[in-house]
Amino acid sequence: MIEVHKLTKRFGRVEALRGVSFKTKRGAITAMLGENGAGKTTTLKLVLGFLRPDSGTVAVAPGRVGYVPDRPAHFAGLDGWTILTLARPRRDRGASGNGRGFGALVLASSRSLLFDPALLRRRPASYSAGNAKKFAYLQNLILEPDLLVVDEPFSALDPPSIRAVRNILCGLREAGKTVLVSSHMLAEMERIADGFVVLKKGETVAHAGLREWRLLRTARRGPDLESVFLRLTGAEGPGPG
């Protein structure tokens, strides 16, 4: 679904990416992990076309692509409903597009996200951080994407909303959609991801299916994803005791 090959990107004197390569599978959730400044968001932006690589290639299979940023921002002058209608799929705009089907989709998606549809009358700039994040999910869900890219999927969300989003991401996978998430929440990633890519200082240091490392962990009575991540990134510090 996504194939990234030897991506490099430089911002002035800063070498943000130094050869990132990975593949994601259709119908799977892939977690991109890495410390702050490892190049996760830069990689996502290159995949999404917001940035251009200095070298390397990004190939994304044809289909609808969705994106939920870490901190969503919206045009100041538009209310939530207007923004949703602008993202409305074209098939709902035809002669029979009386808005009923679209409205039902918005309501159903809002419900699954625990998002209050009454908020759509207001401008997203006035939403709380959690509601702004849920609104960004809503904007994507109504597009029914084949590939959903999410930067920090659970940031700003309360525990019920985290569960709701987790269910949505898993539901997309069940429906054969592809999900690429970048996150620091390793326990959550271990719970939902089917594979992971670990970046360190702009390079891929590990790329594996979760099944592979789970097998490894079972065989060795090994640690959890957090310990694996810390070992891979060389960030192991002194333990709690």
Partner: protein, 244 residues
């Protein structure tokens, strides 16, 4: 290929932004009020001179918030603009601004012409002067749009206004000489390349000077400038990346 969804989005964002901008609303209200006041206290002819000369500045004020604020707000990093569509949005924004300001100008001109026909002061040449005022207005939108790739909201227009103030100061100074630029512009005849180039430079920062209709060469210069500014904008948009 034209993207109607992207244009609808661009149009709605631009329209809301214009209607929510105090300077744009103030300019849109103050300009016709000033012209009417001139017409009532002096004459329709005087009002016509100021109407055509000042009309391009309404376009300039409307272009104060063209590009940089959208880039810095983070609003372009949205599902609506994936795969480089944000570049198309920024490209269409100038078009949407020109359409909005142009529609406003057409309505004002229709009212102004109706007033002139009723008062008996309307001249057929006003049609040409209106077209030249539109040309100058579109030039302002393109120029301010190109500047807004590097300057923050409002400062793109402010820079142009400051340069214009300096140019007008220089123009006033030149009229103190017996054969100043203003005299040449009034007759449409320039003695040699020096004054011609100087007036060309003035037309580049204050395209309003071409609305008299007596300076076709300088109107062509403004038209070329419009094309160049659009080209520069399209180059800048093509190279743009969302770094924030």
């Amino acid at each position: 290929m034209a993207d109607p969804v992207l244009f609808a989005l661009t149009w709605r964002v631009t329209r809301r932004r214009l209607l929510g901008s105090p300077p744009a609303i103030a300019a849109a209200l103050a300009f016709p009020a000033f012209v009417v006041w001139l017409g009532l206290t002096d004459s329709y002819g005087t009002a016509a001179k100021f109407f055509f000369f000042l009309l391009p500045h309404v376009f300039l004020i409307s272009a104060q918030d063209a590009v940089r604020s959208d880039i810095e707000s983070g609003a372009l990093e949205s599902v609506l603009f994936l795969g480089g569509r944000f570049r198309g949005f920024l490209g269409l924004k100038g078009l949407a601004l020109a359409a909005g300001a142009g529609a406003y100008a057409v309505v004002l001109f229709a009212l102004f012409a109706a007033w002139g026909l009723a008062a008996g002061g309307f001249e057929p040449a006003f049609g040409l002067r209106f077209a030249l005022a539109l040309l100058a207005g579109f030039y302002y939108i393109a120029l301010a749009g190109a500047l807004s790739y590097v300057l923050r909201a409002g400062s793109n227009v402010l820079v142009l206004l400051l340069v214009q103030a300096a140019a007008v100061g220089a123009l006033i100074f030149s009229t103190t000489a017996r054969t100043g630029l203003l005299d040449h512009a009034a007759t449409g005849e320039f003695p040699g390349w020096g004054p011609r180039l100087l007036f060309g430079a003035l037309a580049a920062v204050l395209p309003n000077v071409v609305v008299s209709g007596r300076l076709p060469a300088f109107a062509a210069e403004v038209l070329a400038g419009l094309g160049l500014a659009v080209l520069v904008q399209s180059r800048l948009a093509r190279r743009l990346e969302l770094l924030s």
